[in-house]
């Protein structure tokens, strides 16, 4: 069988990389995962900067015809390009469904991501990298995230998933950061309100996410 034409560059333990991997698996799109050794600075090498000028992960290529970066843009592209494959509801089957998904993808990117990413770095990565934790930042971002999750809990009491009754890119986009935070004793209690807990349990039990977690463990 020919090698897949879709390539994803970056370590699977990266939250943004794992966001793209989860999407590709949901859409049943074969891909090659190309390692990028960030502890050796490979993401800042001249060759890598050609495919990602900001020196971040992931980068993405689909054969010869496109090279992209920004995980949420890659996910949207994958859903457009491979619309008929895998999970067809992932980015909505009509404009109103898609708009609701985009609303919650933006809420994730603008409201959930900043405090949760800081907490992921402080609680999951800083200890591994032997970097001193910033207690002030942890406290401040837990408070911010708690307020965001209050809104989520109310929403998830009215709706099975964030954008409606189907699992979508909006829910998927949350998987990487929450995965790390529920494993951190300092942050796990943030996700115990009844509706958020129910939703987290459901989305993290999906086969696609289990496969991503396997890739993270294997790396």
């Amino acid at each position: 069988m020919a090698a897949p034409t879709v390539k994803v560059y970056g370590p699977p333990m990266s939250t943004a990389v794992s966001r793209v991997l989860a999407c590709l698996i949901e859409k049943d799109v074969q891909f090659q995962l190309i390692p990028v050794n960030m502890s050796k600075g490979e993401h800042k090498s001249p060759d890598y900067l050609k495919i990602h000028p900001f020196g971040q992960v992931p980068a993405f290529q689909d054969g010869d015809h496109i090279s992209l970066f920004e995980s949420r843009a890659i996910c949207r592209y994958v859903c457009e390009k491979f619309g008929e494959k895998g999970n067809k509801e992932l980015y909505g089957r009509n404009p109103l469904a898609k708009a609701s998904i985009d609303q919650w993808l933006e809420a994730e990117g603008q409201n959930f991501n900043p405090p949760s990413s800081t907490l992921v770095f402080q609680l999951a990565f800083a200890p591994r990298m032997k970097i001193k934790q910033d207690e002030g930042a942890i406290k401040q971002n837990k408070e911010k995230l708690a307020k965001v999750l209050d809104v989520y809990d109310k929403r998830l009491g009215e709706s099975r998933f964030l954008a409606g009754e189907d699992f979508s890119l909006a829910d998927l986009s949350h998987l990487p950061n929450i995965h790390y935070l529920v494993a951190a004793p300092d942050a796990a209690p943030l996700f115990t309100s009844p509706n958020v807990a129910r939703w987290w349990d459901e989305i993290s039990s999906r086969d696609s996410w289990k496969q991503v977690v396997d890739l993270q463990r294997g790396a």
Binding site: P53, F54, H65, I66, L68, F69, E70, R72, A73, I74, R76, Y77, E80, K81, P95, L96, K98, A99, S100, D102, Q103, L105, E106, A107, G109, Q110, N111, P114, V148, V151, K154, R155
Partner: protein, 215 residues
Amino acid sequence: MVVKVYGPTYGSPKRVLVCLIEKEIEFETVDVDLFKGENNEPEFLKLQPFGAVPVIQDGDYTLYESRAIIRYYAEKYKDQGTDLWGKTIEERGLVEQWLEVEAHNFHPPVYNLVINVLFAPLTGAPSDQKVIEESDKKLEKVLDIYEERLSKTRYLAGDFFSLADLSHLPFGHYLMNQSGRGTLVRERKHVSAWWDDISNRHSWKKVLQLYKYPV
């Protein structure tokens, strides 16, 4: 029935307004005073539970997050007004990429500068000098990358004006004008030319004419 846009005074709602004008879509606006905390009142939170502007109402339909709103209208009215998505799936992918770059790399440092340099004196909130310095440094790096990109293509996603360029207008305006940091753009030849091009579009001039900024 006309689209209702809440909070036209502020930056993010202007992202929606300029898009609606490009797409020749009629709208009306409803003022929301953030300084008086009208965004935290129960009636407003029913529309936008995070207490942010903008939110739109289109008949019975409510939608928030400016970058979701512009995606929706640019798609719904694809055959009307300016084409903001590009012509192919690949071009659209590039528009999505640079929309995300604006949201995650350009917007945060500019927003921090707006809050700390412009709004803090007005609200009596403390101004964080460390955040200001970090934001200035970040912005220089981001604009260097924009300079490299715009030396190769006329606009961010390619040689066509798109949602990605449009998305920079509201906070780009703050950067170029009120924040006193216009030199960051002016000292980068291609970014400077690009800014002049997009900010001189009829649609953006119309937004500025109709709706003043709070600062």
